[in-house]
């Protein structure tokens, strides 16, 4: 797997969220897929539960339509700083990748605070058109405290 293609996928992922092009976000996943937000602590204890758990692209789309149309929260956006990916291996045609990230949350009144840091544990593989997509993205947050609410995915 060409590292540059993984970097490009990660950059596109961060960009669609930070630019609030949320409808583009599910398109970066295969269908079915696995997207889960959890903590390093839960993972270490073998606890499966997640803040967000989606195993189809439809569930990812529902996240977005809910945050666009339903959920009520103070206006906010993210700035992702995504580190360099490390390729860990290959399984069943997918490449296993690990990438650290940091997200600053920018609130309506202008505060810019570190909201979450962690590590993406991914399985990526090309789709039918050859575009690299996530078969799995487990968002492993370093801490377990999530201030106020999590409206936008990590």
């Amino acid at each position: 797997m060409d590292l540059a293609r993984i970097v490009e996928l990660n950059a596109a992922y961060a960009r669609v969220i930070d630019n609030e092009q949320f409808e583009e976000w599910p398109k970066l996943f295969h269908d079915p897929c696995l997207y889960k937000v959890t903590t390093a602590d839960n993972l270490a204890r073998g606890l499966e539960g997640g803040l967000i758990y989606a195993d189809t692209r439809g569930m990812l789309e529902d996240r977005i339509s809910s945050l666009r149309n339903v959920n009520i929260y103070e206006q906010q956006r993210y700035r992702h700083i995504v580190g360099l990916p490390v390729v860990l291996g290959q399984t069943n045609g997918a490449t296993e990748v690990e990438t650290p990230f940091l997200i600053v949350r920018i609130m309506r009144e202008g505060a810019m605070d570190v909201f979450v840091t962690g590590c993406y544990r991914d399985k990526v593989k090309p789709d039918a058109q050859g575009a690299l997509r996530f078969a799995e993205r487990i968002v492993v947050c370093d801490g377990r405290r999530f201030d106020t609410l999590v409206a936008i995915p990590f």
């Binding site: 439809g58 009520i72 377990r144």
Partner: protein
């Protein structure tokens, strides 16, 4: 309303009026710690499943009071203040673990047995007869404060007060029955998260007890046309007001997953149909058509059943304007893989990122900020009257008034 109250004074003898200073006043917060969390109340400290073996322990807080909960050699669960009798350092400074026979304070190596008794003092006799503790020093009089513990359907509660009634009496028969219906077999923790909230702890507890807001603030179910207007339900309030259980009863034909899907088909052309309604594929697991139950035990314990999504929430005050909401998602030991997956999917509904519960994270902060200049004003809590009895409707604020009934009694307000 243009009354002007003095801080610390309750406006009138009404459960339907609550002064805003109660969410802001530092002195009142200190009194809450003493009279509520360290007073005659039962406080959730851990699950029995968290400490199955001798020496297993967890740390927690009753308000500002840090505690250790530990299982001793006899299988008994003990709870004592997490504060070394010597200089006051935390004895345990992690979430939990296992100790063999004693806890040892890292500062000067004073040690405590699994009942919280001070057992060992490093260099108690000094060195070569020089130094050490005075001869008259009595270890027995210098132990951390001990709490009473009780267990209830796998939950462990603790109290610092000798006056707290037995937990069954404290909770009341109606609400107790609603805990039992959920916690009817051994549970399995599925995940833990903490949600710091920018509001006084009572604003969250009121929110939990507020059956009126649910369908108005949380529009996920309504917007996706999944809520059923024909649903029955109501709210049970314990005689002392402090504990409650609100519930929604599924229409008989709506009790299985097929009905959800049929409902989904009918809304297929709707702009807001779910792309993947499997998030709501639920099965009846308690045999009583109650598809949603929110339950609280005064002051800060919450048990939640939303479809097959089960969680315990603990309210931990963090000063007058902040709190932590500690989430423990759980299922049962005998869950099938299908049920496990169903619970994982439904966990999307709750927690900090919950489709249904997300708004509860911010609305308390909106009240906290909205009332900053209104310490001498009151909120109006009159839906469903001005008393705090059980009601067969959810368009009521009866259980919120119940909270204030219990609060005022404990606080002497």
């Amino acid at each position: 309303m243009d009354t002007h109250l003095d801080i610390g004074v309750w406006p009138e003898n009404s459960l339907a009026r609550v002064p805003y200073w109660v969410y802001q006043d530092e002195a009142n917060y200190k009194r809450e710690m003493q009279r509520l969390f360290e007073g005659a109340t039962w406080n959730f400290v851990c699950l029995e499943a968290d400490i199955p073996n001798k020496g297993d322990y967890r740390t927690n807080q009753l308000g500002d009071l840090p505690v250790i909960v530990v299982r001793d050699a006899d299988g008994k669960i003990n709870c004592f203040e997490n504060r070394c009798a010597h200089r006051g350092a935390l004895i345990a400074f992690d979430d939990g673990g296992n100790v063999q026979n004693n806890f040892k304070c890292i500062y000067h190596a004073w040690s405590y047995d699994l009942c919280g008794n001070l057992r060992g003092i490093a260099f108690e006799k000094g060195i070569n007869g020089v130094g050490g503790m005075p001869k008259e020093f009595s270890r027995e009089t210098f132990s951390p404060r001990k709490l009473r513990t009780t267990t209830l359907f796998g939950l462990v509660f603790a109290t610092l007060s000798a006056d707290t009634p037995p937990i069954e009496d404290y909770i009341g028969a109606d609400v107790l029955g609603r805990i039992k219906r959920v916690l009817n077999r051994p549970i399995r923790v599925m995940g833990r998260f903490v949600q710091p909230l920018p509001n006084n702890w009572k604003l969250y507890v009121e929110n939990v007890k507020d059956t009126y807001h649910a369908s108005l603030l949380h529009t996920f179910l309504a917007t996706f046309r999944i809520s059923r207007l024909t649903q029955g339900g109501g709210v049970l309030v314990s005689p002392d007001g402090g504990n409650h259980s609100s519930y929604t009863i599924a229409i008989p034909e709506g009790k299985n997953a097929t009905a959800y899907k049929e409902q989904q088909i009918r809304t297929d052309n709707d702009r807001f149909a779910l792309a993947d309604p499997s998030v709501l594929d639920s099965v009846e697991e308690f045999g009583d058509h109650i598809q949603l139950q929110i339950l609280s035990v005064f002051p800060g314990f919450i048990l939640q059943q939303i479809y097959n999504c089960l969680a315990i929430r603990q309210v931990v005050p963090r000063g007058v304007g902040k709190m932590d909401l500690v989430w423990t998602y759980f299922g049962f030991e005998d869950d099938t893989p299908e049920m496990n997956r169903r619970r994982l999917k439904q966990q999307n509904l709750v927690g900090p990122a919950g489709f249904i519960s997300m708004e509860d994270g911010c609305v308390g902060g909106f009240v906290q900020r909205g009332t900053l200049a209104a310490a001498d004003q009151v909120s109006v809590i009159n839906m469903g009257g001005s008393t705090a009895e059980s009601q067969e409707t959810r368009a009521t604020e009866a259980s919120v008034r119940g909270f204030w009934k219990a609060y005022r009694r404990h606080m002497g307000l």
